[in-house]
Amino acid sequence: MDVLLDNTDIFLRGFRNTILLFLVSAAGSLILGTILAMLRVSPVPVLRATGTAYVTIVRNTPLTLVFFFFVFAFPLLRIISQDDFTPFLGAVIALTLYTSAFVCEVVRSGINTVATGQVEAARALGLTFGQSLANVVLPQATRSVVPPLVSTMIALLKNTTIAAGFSVVEAGAIRDYLSERGESVLIGLLWVAFLFVILVIPLTLLQRALEKRWSVAR
């Protein structure tokens, strides 16, 4: 308990950055992921192929490697000036690009669960691709999309810890500061693990509840 209480400042700072990293990347990956999913079901073959290529490449690359690229190698390309670049920004880009591939798959499989008759009816009424997707398919897909989406977000929350290895001060990096202060690293890490369990369990319960509630109606 002492390790936690004597170093509240580090724990607070670490978890605040973790949650900030999570929220920014979650928003980014939801938007990018939905756009990618729309590309993957669009009537234009080139756009479909682009979406598929992106998802295939990103899903088969370790997240650590994506981080590696955006924190170490990306600044070398001088796309943005060296002063503007922070490891936090690199971490946000890496997490957003990586997670959006998974969001895309979840949304796309959700679109596929909507009964074909719904789309056919929408088309028979003369709705365009965009209209039938936005007004008919996506609202109905939400039901089967949200529970796995919550799981993807849980994974994102846990994945933020990888940023600790790339000089972002977040929950995973609490260890460095503790060992600097000569505190017990093991107890500190167990506290971090415990706090993550506290953060993840409500989300898991939410996901289970949504799954139970929404799977009945179909």
Partner: protein, 287 residues
């Protein structure tokens, strides 16, 4: 899957789609060209930065690093499968005294980030060589996910299967080993292989605790001034290696599920399929 979100395009729609296709192609080509231009402009394609590939020693070291990655993957995969099997059996037990602790262990290791798990083993407890912590972390985390997959696979079988087996007088162990597992494994195989892809990707986390795997070697070689700090070329090479390895595994999963669907022993399952459970719980985790 083959859901038609759009009508067969008429002449005007075809013209519009052609415009979209041109704009889309231009956008994609533009982005790719911009990235390649930046790579070239900052000198990443200079011959000097690619010279390292020609050194026999570096090739050997790179292969060694690859072998280390594969070693962690192989040991971790075997241990995770065993751990998963044991805890799935525990969760399916009729005795609450076994079922509840197994459930707690599985939920606990699924909730803790793998990085933190590895940090605890490496920096907290101090298990010596980094590979011990890497393998142990991979085993506990992926084993917990695999346990859920196994459990879902067994539960997804029609109830009639176990009822019939009990009716002919089999014991619990016999029902599980002779009737349920052979059918469940068949259905679970693709989900298990995709979890192994996750495990393979997670070995890259060893980088964070100084395990001498591909990324660590890339970092080391990438900072060598005599080769012009070829970090970007190395990242490209290492990424290609990982993508090829993962695609091979994914392709194996596809092949197995296709073969399974064709087979005469195929069984249409009701309820959530193991793949869906995995999509909901595991596919997107890890690195």
């Amino acid at each position: 899957m083959s859901m038609n979100l759009f009508d067969l395009p008429g002449p005007r729609a075809r013209a519009r789609h052609r415009i979209y296709a041109v704009v889309g192609t231009l956008a994609v080509v533009g982005v790719v060209a911009f990235v390649i231009f930046r790579f070239a402009d900052s000198g990443q394609f200079d011959a000097r930065r690619w010279e390292w590939i020609e050194y026999a020693q570096i090739q050997r070291d790179l292969i060694d690093a690859l072998v280390n990655t594969l070693k962690a993957f192989a040991i971790g995969a075997v241990l995770a499968l065993i751990f998963g099997a044991i805890f799935a059996a525990g969760r399916l037990s009729d005795h609450a005294i076994i079922r509840v602790p197994s459930m707690l262990v599985v939920e606990l290791f699924r909730a803790i980030p793998l990085v933190i798990l590895m940090f605890v083993f490496h920096y907290g407890i101090g298990l010596g060589a980094p590979i011990n912590s890497v393998v142990l972390g991979l085993m506990l985390y992926n084993g917990a996910v695999l346990a859920e997959i196994f459990r879902a696979g067994v539960l997804a079988l029609p109830r009639g299967q176990s009822e019939a087996a009990y009716a002919v007088g089999m014991r619990k162990t016999q029902v599980m080993n002779l009737v349920l597992l052979p059918q469940a494994l068949r259905a679970m195989l693709p989900a298990i292989v995709s979890q192994l892809v996750v495990l393979l990707k997670d070995t890259a986390l060893g980088f964070l605790i100084t395990y001498e795997e591909l990324l660590r070697y890339a970092r080391f070689l990438g900072s060598q001034a005599q080769f012009g700090r070829p970090l970007v070329p190395l990242t490209i090479v290492v990424a290609a290696m990982y993508i090829v390895m993962c695609l091979l595994l994914t392709w194996l999963a596809h092949y197995l599920s296709k073969r399974e669907r064709r087979s005469k022993k195929h069984l249409d399952l009701e309820g959530p399929k193991p793949e869906e459970v995995q999509l909901a719980s595991a596919l997107s985790t890890g690195a």
